[in-house]
């Protein structure tokens, strides 16, 4: 394993030159990066709501485009209307615009002095104040215009800009160019209106891009500076503090280039990738630097220090890197493109960050040996003392109360799980900017003057021709009115409103005329006469499907779903006919993506937890270890749900990643602690001392790492985007909680557990005597023999030391590895050596198997080294390695039966 960093160490210039070359090549690939800030990124393609949305779009046309809002107390003056018409004309001439709807472009008809006036309401601007007032009155009396194109007081108007369809000339112009072109169209008239601005897709995305750039300008440099300061202080060297940042920058550039090559777009989440890569990836560099320096200071041999560093923390570092990458990659399994792209990009970038750690960091070590060799400062010694004291107190006070700690942990997990149920859900693209954002304020202004910006489409399906019939139209009218009356609905329009409008204007002056035509024939004539552009958004050409357009100012996902449900209830009531129907539209598709977010949360958290459990269980060959490690870290995640529930932080595209990402990060401390504990157990004979030593060593790096991580994540709290802010702050909080639980709970829970690692198993060199000479190892494979050895403890006894004493209770069995042991019996007060055992021999097996008191003394004839196997170990083997346990018991039976034979009488059991 250590060959890879050794390569970087020995070929420092080659590696650094390669990294520089790769960075230069990546730089050229960066222009290929594309941006995706569309609402498509936050909807689940192929979801039922998305299917409904697309079907409604296919049948009735798209709602998305841009809009221009103009407001002025004196709007209805010739001068301002002329300025508005100029804007309308300028917008119409833009190459990507198909048409501009509103008072200047939407076809209409109205009765005026007995004649029918055709054309848009303000196709011709009336001359003179009286004519203007009359036209204003006529427009404000048109229910199809009020709320959609003009405010009820006539002081605000909205021009809707419909873009050419994809594939048509002009459709390829990007959002930024569209936004800029529309802005230029508004420029000449800005001084003429109290408010004049654009809304819609391009404006939303341009605003988001602007906020993204602002994020990059502020957060990235601030994070780099903060991290550098923290690392420089933590490592007590500016140069060493620079390495993680430099490596993070390299991996970021490589990652962005990989995104460009793979077509993974930059979105509002993975725009924070540079920060994540620098912060998250830097932690492993810090640990390795700390370890390498410690080893180097101890003996001064650089290659040996590198070897030791790899041996000590290499595996944990590797596994942690893997778990971190998995944590982010799990997000890539989401149904939402924004999360998928983020997960993919983050996993790639962090994998590249690992490559930096493996190859570039050793090269940097090689170039800074002078700094690394500098003796430890006084403060470092003080830190060590403090760590030792804390470890002593934590383990000393809490370890005896392990059951209490487990109960507390279980309660915490239960409370967290309950709190998770209370966490609200949210997926509102505009809401990502936050209510205080000027752009959101503009949208709210429009919603306060006109109908809400959110559109819910209700598609009602029937037999062909149905909505060309008078009775069906009347029912549709009733349904539209019922929906209009629903709480939260600002406005609702349907075909019945268009037909009623045309019918009324055609029969102006006839008080007997109802709002809707009475016969099918009349309906057919009105549908024939009305402008097809007014009809098309509300009914299919075959009159089989009608659309009710509902406008609302509700943005909250849950409330939108409740509104959709209420709409469904109204239709299901049957009062307006029995129809097949669907409620959909982009608003609901985006809101409905919260289900995908919830599913993604469960899936990613579940898979990360499972993988982590697997890693720890396999690495330490203990399911118990896996469970404990998982529980300790899940406790932090559960606390996250408590925080979310308490502070009403919603589950959104940002917060849904916190659990899996932080779990992937904080498991790092567990792995390092366990590895150190395992190493300490080789030195210390009891677990309590081992875990204290491990915690004392690990506490410093844990706190330093957590501080840097939490600090780095907290910097995302300055983001312009609400989900990114919430992601950063919540992650920071979870990391702090995790390090606290880790430093308290893990030592307590592991204090009573003797752990071995798979690494030990693979690296153990068995003594030939055991396999060749010991009757206990007969028939065991090499792997089984290692497993048996590692399930036992090794103990050393000095010459003359009594290993077991006759009459004592005993539950352990011994296998002599080195030295001789004399079996001594007392007969009439005199001690007689009845047997002398050597390497490979077994003693203590009768008490071990039968649980009876020891029958003789076993005394070390010289220095003795022996394997000590406890009955618990046998139990564990019996449960988890039944074949090994069976062979072991068979061997024990053979040993016992031989003891019973007369020839063996001198070697009586002890």
């Amino acid at each position: 394993m250590w060959r890879l960093p050794l390569f970087g160490f020995e070929h420092r210039f080659l590696v650094l030159a390669g990294a520089a070359l790769l960075t230069a090549a990546s730089w050229f690939a960066l222009p290929g990066l594309r941006l995706d800030l569309s609402s498509d990124a936050v909807v689940a393609p192929g979801s039922p709501l998305h299917v409904v949305e697309q079907r409604i779009e296919d049948r009735f046309g798209r709602d998305e485009g841009a809009a221009v809002y103009a407001e002025d107390p004196a709007l209805f003056t010739a001068e301002r209307l002329a300025a508005l018409r100029d804007i309308h004309d300028a917008l119409s001439r833009l190459p990507f615009v198909e048409r501009v709807e509103g008072l200047f472009g939407t076809p209409d008809l109205r009765d005026e002095d007995g004649a029918i006036v055709l054309g848009a309401p303000l196709a011709v601007i009336p001359a003179g104040p009286e004519a203007l007032a009359a036209r204003r009155g006529a427009i404000l009396a048109n229910p199809l215009l009020v709320g959609s194109s003009i405010s009820a007081d006539g002081q605000a108007v909205l021009l809707r800009v419909v873009f050419v369809a994809a594939g048509d000339a002009g459709a390829t112009i990007d959002d930024g160019a569209r936004h800029a072109a529309i802005e230029r169209s508004l420029d000449p008239a800005r001084q003429r209106f109290a408010h004049l601005f654009q809304l819609g897709g391009p404006a939303t995305r341009a605003t988001m891009l602007d906020r993204l750039k602002s994020d990059q300008r502020l957060i990235l440099p601030a994070t780099v500076v903060l991290l550098f300061v923290l690392l420089a202080i933590g490592l007590r060297s500016a140069l060493l503090g620079l390495f993680p940042i430099l490596n993070g920058a390299l991996a970021t550039i490589w990652g962005l280039a990989a995104m460009a090559l793979l077509g993974v777009p930059v979105n509002l989440l993975n725009a924070s990738l540079p920060v994540l890569v620098i912060v998250v990836g830097g932690m492993e560099d810090v640990r390795l630097t700390h370890e390498f320096r410690t080893c180097l200071r101890r003996h001064g041999f650089e290659r040996l220090a590198l070897f030791e560093t790899t041996e000590r923390v290499g595996l944990a570092t590797l596994l942690n890197s893997v778990s971190t990458v998995i944590g982010f990659a799990a997000t890539a399994a989401s149904d939402l493109p924004v999360l998928r792209d983020f997960g993919t990009a983050a996993a790639i970038a962090l994998a590249l960050r690992v490559a930096c750690t493996v190859f570039v960091l050793p090269a940097e070590f090689a170039l800074s040996l002078g700094v690394l060799r500098a003796p430890a400062a006084t403060a470092e010694h003080r830190e060590e003392r403090v760590s030792k004291r804390i470890a002593e107190r934590v383990v000393g006070r809490l370890a005896p109360h392990v059951r209490l700690v487990v109960v507390a942990l279980a309660i915490l997990c239960g409370v967290g799980a309950a709190a998770a149920m209370l966490v609200p859900r949210d997926n509102d693209l505009l809401g990502f900017l936050g209510e205080s954002d000027p752009f959101v304020q503009q949208v709210r202004r429009v919603e306060s003057r006109l109908a809400g910006a959110e559109i819910i489409n209700v598609e009602v399906d029937a037999a062909p021709g149905e909505f060309g019939r008078a009775d069906a139209l009347a029912r549709l009218d009733g349904l539209t009115a019922a929906l209009r009356a629903l709480p939260g609905v600002d406005a609702a329009w349907s075909l019945s409103d268009v037909v009623a409008r045309v019918h009324q204007e055609l029969r102006a002056g006839d008080p007997g005329a109802g709002s809707l035509p009475a016969t099918d024939r009349d309906v057919a004539q009105i549908l024939l006469f009305a402008d097809s552009r007014q009809i098309a958004p509300f009914v299919t050409p075959d009159r089989a499907s009608a659309r009710i357009l509902v406008r609302t100012s509700i943005h909250d996902a849950v409330r939108l779903e409740e509104l959709a449900s209420s709409i469904g209830d109204r239709i299901d009531s049957g009062r307006f006919g029995r129809y097949v129907y669907a409620v959909g539209g982009r608003t609901l598709t985006v809101a409905g993506a919260t289900d995908a977010i919830t599913r993604g949360q469960v899936l990613s958290l579940g898979s990360v937890a499972l993988i982590l459990f697997g890693i720890v269980s396999i690495m330490f060959l203990s399911l118990r270890c896996g469970v404990v490690a998982l529980l300790v870290n899940l406790a932090a995640v559960m606390m996250m749900f408590v925080l979310m529930g308490s502070f009403r932080v919603p589950l959104n595209i940002g917060t849904c990643m916190v659990a899996s990402v932080t779990l992937g990060l904080v498991i790092d401390d567990t792995l390092h602690l366990l590895v150190r504990y395992n190493r300490a157990l080789r030195v210390c004979r009891d677990e309590s001392a081992g875990i204290k030593a491990a915690l004392a060593e690990e506490l410093g790096p844990m706190m330093a790492g957590a501080g840097a991580l939490a600090g780095g994540f907290a910097m995302l709290g300055f983001s312009e985007f609400v989900p990114v802010r919430q992601f950063g702050l919540l992650s920071a909080a979870v990391i702090v909680i995790a390090v606290l639980t880790e430093s308290v709970l893990s030592p307590v829970l592991f204090a009573n557990t003797r752990i071995i690692t798979l690494w030990d198993l693979l690296g153990l060199s068995l003594r030939r005597t055991l396999q060749e000479k010991s009757p206990l190892f007969v028939g065991l494979s090499r792997w089984q023999a290692k497993r048996l050895v590692l399930a036992s403890d090794a103990a050393r006894f000095r010459a003359g030391e009594t290993i077991v004493r006759a009459g004592d209770p005993g539950s352990t069995m011994y296998v002599i590895l080195e030295g001789d042991v004399e079996i001594v019996r007392r007969d009439r007060g005199e001690a007689h050596v009845v047997s002398r055992l050597g390497a490979g021999d077994v003693f203590g097996e009768v008490a071990f198997i039968a649980g009876v008191p020891r029958t003789a003394n076993a005394v070390a004839a010289g220095d003795v080294w022996a394997l000590v196997m406890s009955r618990e170990s046998l139990e564990s083997l019996r449960r988890f390695s039944p074949y090994l346990a069976a062979q072991l018991l068979l061997n024990l039976s053979t040993i016992l039966s031989r003891r019973m034979q007369p020839a063996d009488l001198p070697a009586r059991p002890v």
Binding site: A115, L118, A123, A524, L528, S532
Partner: protein
Amino acid sequence: MTASRTAVSLVLSAALAVSVDARAQAPSAKGGGDAGLTGPEIVARYVATQEVDSEIAYVKMTVSEPGAAPRENRFLTVYRKRADGRRDYLLRMVRPADVAGVSVLVSEDRDGAIEQYVYLPASGKARRLTGQARSTSLLGSSFSYEDLIREIPSMYGYERLADTDLRSRACYQVRAVEKPGGGSAYAYRDLVIAKDTFDLMRVDFFDKSSRKLVKTLTAYDYRSAEVKGVTRRPRNAVMQAVGKERWSDFTVVEGRVGEKLPEDLFTPRRVETWTDWEVEEFIFRFGITVATP
């Protein structure tokens, strides 16, 4: 009414007579085209080819929209040039039965002023249509009410563009730009006229606000046996909206030219009282079959 049009008149067999201005400017037709012709002269020649005193046509209108089977309607158009120079034309829906009776009446004074009326049985009376920009779609088609009005050369300036070929025929291209003060919904129209026959082959319509091409009318099948008489009108015209799978096809089922027409046919009152039965009898009288679509 200041707008004037050429498109629908091709098939609606209404505004076919040559205006006084046009006649005055029209050079003699020699066939094969003339490279020295100006824009106004080319248009005058085109208008002259369609001169007639009266015409009746039974037209099939097919409207196709995305996601639906094409809809088919049939209507009657009647055109008359009066002795005093005024021109009238009437469009009346005949099939399907539920829209039968829906009518549009257009009357043009000698000075070019236009009066339009629309009658829906559902509304009970003929209503005068006003509004300068009559861009509202005509009876669910891609045509607009403005397209009903014939080409009046005095209302336009004509600029000759580069010649072109269309369907293997050498053609003139003339841009018709409305003179100041007009209320057309179009910024201009590009007319493609065959050099040899002065048949109008195609018209491109450009929106007034956006100055973009919004629809194209293409005319086919000139001198069809179904259109009896001496005019050179196309039997079929297709209006295609740009960027949309939406088109309207007007096809003359049968036509008659130079027939004597009742004097009172072109009044709003008559439009209101003309029954469906009388209409069918009127059509039958000219030997035209009213087929059920």
